[in-house]
Symmetry: C2
Subunit: 428 residues, 2 copies
């Protein structure tokens, strides 16, 4: 049947999952969903559009429209330059601490909002590598997954070249990520830093943060966690893991808006010893003395460089309010329910069409998105976009079904997956 | 009189500038101001507050409130991830080109909106230094003013240390900046890069862009212009100067909002040879192929690193509309009129109180702000803020009178300067 399905799709999977039961199941899941009222908090949730890309750019909360208007008129326009003294100088740290407390398992004073994800990764990776190479000149290796997000790989490649370090690439199955066994085989007494994705951007593989941190530490390496695809959907426990450093996006599950600035975490024990190379006025010990020589601030502020992007960090606070109300545990529970439902539906109606699950089947090893693989997926994605079903495509052959827990319903998910089935049939 | 002025200030300067004539002059200047209707375009212009800090954080245009609301609901909320394909990927270049055309004298394809000023300065300074040191290992010197903005100095200090380069500090009178004579004495055949401020943040000194660029080039050096305090108030002619590189703020005279991202200019002739060290996905030749090795994009995109800060670059477009309507020549004419009026008023009512002009007296050598010096200025600034007169303070003893041409009136300027006189009297 999978090589020659009938156009009447109902008959294809009737034996295992009668279609009628999927709609009923979606309805029941939505009715029982403790977070169902959050969906209405987002712009566009009332439209028929199916959004499977909240893992790339989250929807705006409705409250953000007012929040930005009030900011422009009352704070920027009303307080003008005084806003810096009154609150904006602290905003990178107050919002950072909120993200730390609500989503990262980070005690206060260790998280800030800074530059782009790429720039923050550069600064922290340089900080870690330079410190390790200074302490022990034999530690010249940076370990990173060969399947990690391009920015991570490109940065490591560039930093290794400029600092005389060496990249150790960890090869992974594209439907998984770097796990304990692979990492254990990659680290040695020459490893300076390990850059790890908590959730793989491609497969959605969820790494064991505590175990991988321990393996890196046992080898004497520092760990920099890329939390882009977990922050706000999968609970992170940086302090409990004993993590050293972390960076993550705020425009995905934290709905900060297109290109909103990233967060960075530096464990308290490293804040007096690590220094980063982009020495700007906001990282200096006394910002407004504007003295002749750069002396890095004590604590997290030394990881800032330029003027903090205040206007760009306003929006994410609305989603932090929602996560605070719901609790990250409930967010994760909804996320697991959405991905499990997606896997069940895919097994029922997409597997017979030759679509393969390219994410871990066990939800304990899976983050907030599910990747479905089929040779026609690039064309399928274009087809879906025309019908207002919006996933994204990642080589090779991967359709990513991103399921933002606060804004996605089970009915929306099913509607989208049925459209995927139609599109795969149309493209074959 | 200046050592023991009478409290009745009118009598102090009655001989030279009767106070009544200043009010009349301000009225006449406002009445004749061809840009007077632009002031009403800004939030808060109707309040009695005197704003002398538009050179630090510009007021928001009223249109920005609606622009941001529409962006959140229609573009971010309505187009969602599709916005990237439809326009956002190009936005760093379309807005960059507009700034280039309206304010920088830069032909299209050479300006982008990127990271913070500090991060862009780091990337371009590294790009220039690394290229120069590779081409000629004897070129290891970076020339920078000892009185330049802290970020410029701290960056140079850090980059020199990490690259094995050497800093050549140019000592300047704090009421001026790096001029042709000082630069000529600083550059040699060992100079790799010269980092120059077009308008000094402290004194408002306006450098001769063409002359200084020629002097640096004659020595075989590359020039990186810091345009933070000129962009949007003083016309810049990067192409005509033959400039190599430039970076500038957008939250000052371009009113992009607190912490809005900076712009960078790279002359077309350098775009295939210079590379910068923060290798992220957005700088790669083919962003979405996400290939195994970083290959920098041809053209300006190689100077991007992470996901562009789209939400944060929306606001500045309203001021670009206003500059387009007025023309940068008219903006500069108003700016000169405002600073000349400020100098006249200071001569009349502040000089007798011991206040010294710490900016060039010749408007051809002065940008958009005027710095007034007095030993009590730190306390004077605090005093003024309490009365809703908002300049800023810079060591040593400097009160900066920032005069944003589109949003400042002559009457507002006079009201503020009279308050300065009162505050100086009160603090003596």
């Amino acid at each position: 049947m999978s090589t020659d399905p009938t156009p009447d799709f109902g008959s294809v999977d009737a034996l295992e999952v009668p279609p009628v039961s999927l709609e009923a199941e979606a309805s029941a899941l939505d009715a029982d969903d403790p977070l169902k009222h959050h969906r209405a908090a987002f712009v566009g949730a009332e439209t028929p559009l199916v959004y499977f890309d909240g893992n790339s750019l989250g929807r705006p909360p409705r409250a953000t429209v007012d929040r930005l208007s009030r900011f422009v008129t009352d704070e920027w326009g009303g307080r003008l330059i005084r806003g810096w003294d009154e609150s904006w100088m602290q905003l990178p740290f107050t919002i950072g601490d909120r993200i730390g407390a609500l989503a990262l398992g980070a005690a206060s004073g260790q998280t800030l909002i800074g530059d782009s994800t790429t720039v923050l990764l550069y600064k922290l990776l340089r900080a870690a590598l330079d410190a390790q190479m200074t302490a022990d000149p034999r530690r010249v290796e940076i370990v990173v997954g060969r399947d990690d997000f391009p920015t991570d790989r490109y940065l490591v490649e560039g930093i290794a070249a400029e600092r005389g370090a060496r990249v150790v690439w960890v090869d992974v199955d594209t439907s998984r990520g770097v796990d304990a066994e692979l990492l254990g085989a990659a680290v040695t007494d020459r490893t300076a830093v390990v850059l790890l994705s908590h959730v793989s951007y491609r497969s959605g593989y969820l790494a064991d943060g505590a175990a991988l941190t321990r393996i890196a530490h046992d080898a004497g390496a520092l760990v920099l966690w890329d939390l882009c695809h977990s922050a706000g959907s999968v609970p992170v426990e940086l302090d409990a893991w004993g993590a050293d450093l972390a960076v993550g996006c705020t425009y995905k599950y934290l709905n900060g808006g297109p290109g909103s600035p990233a967060f960075a975490y530096v464990a308290e024990r490293h804040q007096r010893t690590l220094t980063q190379p982009v020495q700007g006025w906001m990282g200096a010990a006394d910002v407004f003395s504007m003295g002749p020589v750069y002396r890095p601030a004590d604590g997290m502020r030394r990881f800032l460089s330029g003027t903090p992007p205040v206007l760009a960090m306003i929006a994410m606070q609305d989603t932090l309010d929602l996560i605070e109300e719901a609790g990250i545990g409930a967010v994760r529970a909804k996320s697991v329910a959405l991905t499990e439902f997606t896997v069940r539906v895919a097994d029922g109606i997409l597997s017979p069409l030759g679509v393969r699950l390219a994410s871990p089947r066990d939800s304990a090893e899976r983050g907030g998105h599910v990747t479905l693989s089929h040779p026609a997926m690039r064309a399928v994605t274009a087809h879906l976009w025309e019908g207002d079903v919006i996933p994204d495509y990642r080589d090779p052959h991967g359709l990513r079904i991103g399921l933002s827990p606060l804004s996605t319903s089970f009915a929306e998910t099913l509607t989208g997956l049925r459209a995927v089935a139609d599109a795969v049939r149309a493209e074959r």
